[in-house]
Symmetry: C4
Subunit: 125 residues, 4 copies
């Protein structure tokens, strides 16, 4: 399998929340939220992410790229431009791509000594 375009160009994640605390400073175990993006196509994907909040206008676009036949596990924690994602704050996101991609949403919560996980395929618009 190579070069098959699998997925959609617009995705939404209605749940977003990065806990502000973690029992570990280890990057693998710090509380984080991820948009796992798969670009199985033969073209690079230009990605634009818009964040939505409870009580203010959307923020974005945050721009990134996922190469042809590559996956990117993008941490919302790492987004910086135009501004960092606030912690302990509810948000949502819309992810737009120039080529079909697949998006899965995952959170690792390490506020407690033992981690908790959640994951779901995002909504394909």
């Amino acid at each position: 399998m190579s070069g098959v375009a699998v997925g959609r160009r617009v995705w939404a994640i209605a749940e977003g929340y990065i806990p502000g605390q973690s029992v570990s400073g280890d990057r693998a175990l710090v509380s984080h939220e991820t948009a796992c993006i798969l670009n199985a196509s033969d073209e690079d994907a230009e990605i634009a992410i818009t964040l939505f909040f409870t009580d203010r206008e959307p923020c974005g676009p945050y721009r990134t790229k996922v190469g042809a036949r590559r996956t990117l596990h993008l941490r919302f924690n790492d987004l910086a431009d135009p501004e960092p994602v606030p912690r302990d704050t509810s948000y949502a996101s819309v992810i737009e791509s120039t080529v079909p991609i697949v998006v899965q949403h995952t959170r690792l919560d390490s506020r407690n000594p033992n981690i908790a996980l959640l994951s779901t395929v995002a909504f394909a618009a």
Copy 2:
């Protein structure tokens, strides 16, 4: 991205259960269940939620609003009118909106010293 209507007008969550106990009284960590709603459109969304139970007629509608380009992480714990959601009780919900929205269902269970999480995009009817 602005003003693009992403989603559907009718959603269902077949799983519902708010644990009656929590190890923490902190609002962030009390056992709760959430319908995360994203309204990426340019129109306010009027939302009506109906709850279904095992052995009695449905209850509702519970009414709320999600502004244009806003997200609402609605806690079922906070619903009060026409009546609170019973704890330790199985329920399900149908969420109807006047404009397309995206709905994701999340539970934080803190009956144990360490939290457990689950999440899934709801069923788009």
Copy 3:
């Protein structure tokens, strides 16, 4: 909202596994797996469940009913006829209904002192 048929008539859950151990004998906290079924229609739903295994022919149908405008959080642990669901064994299921329903799959794993949860909307065939 009343009497709107939401959902599909055939659903599949590819993941199935009931841990044989639990730290608690409390029904709420014993390791269990659930098919949460919502029948938002005005007709009773006759449900037939078929279980699939790794190395033998399917088993079923297991029959149950979900009344009009009712939800049933069916525990696979409780299935008995034609035979109980084996513990610590991989299985999968297909759920068929006479009217449209919505199905969500949830597991509570209490092999450890703290529970773990997973959930996903089932696959609508």
Copy 4:
């Protein structure tokens, strides 16, 4: 129910990550990632899995078979040919079948003394 083809022929899992550590050596509790595959049809399914990475070309196909009316809970940990799946490394997968199947993605993370779980139906392409 017998011999009904439920599902799709191409599936994608955008999230993939096998933790390199586990508190237990017990096969049931070691950190693992699973693609639960249901073949409810009357024909054997020939399966081809391709893995995608962050910074190198895809790897595969990994080949397996799921018999007619059988389920296979395939551990990515067990894949060996053409090469094992690296631990502590982000990946994604595309699963192709000769007959319709249903795929659900599950991870058990036992880096902590208590396990964490996630699961979602994969993306049906």
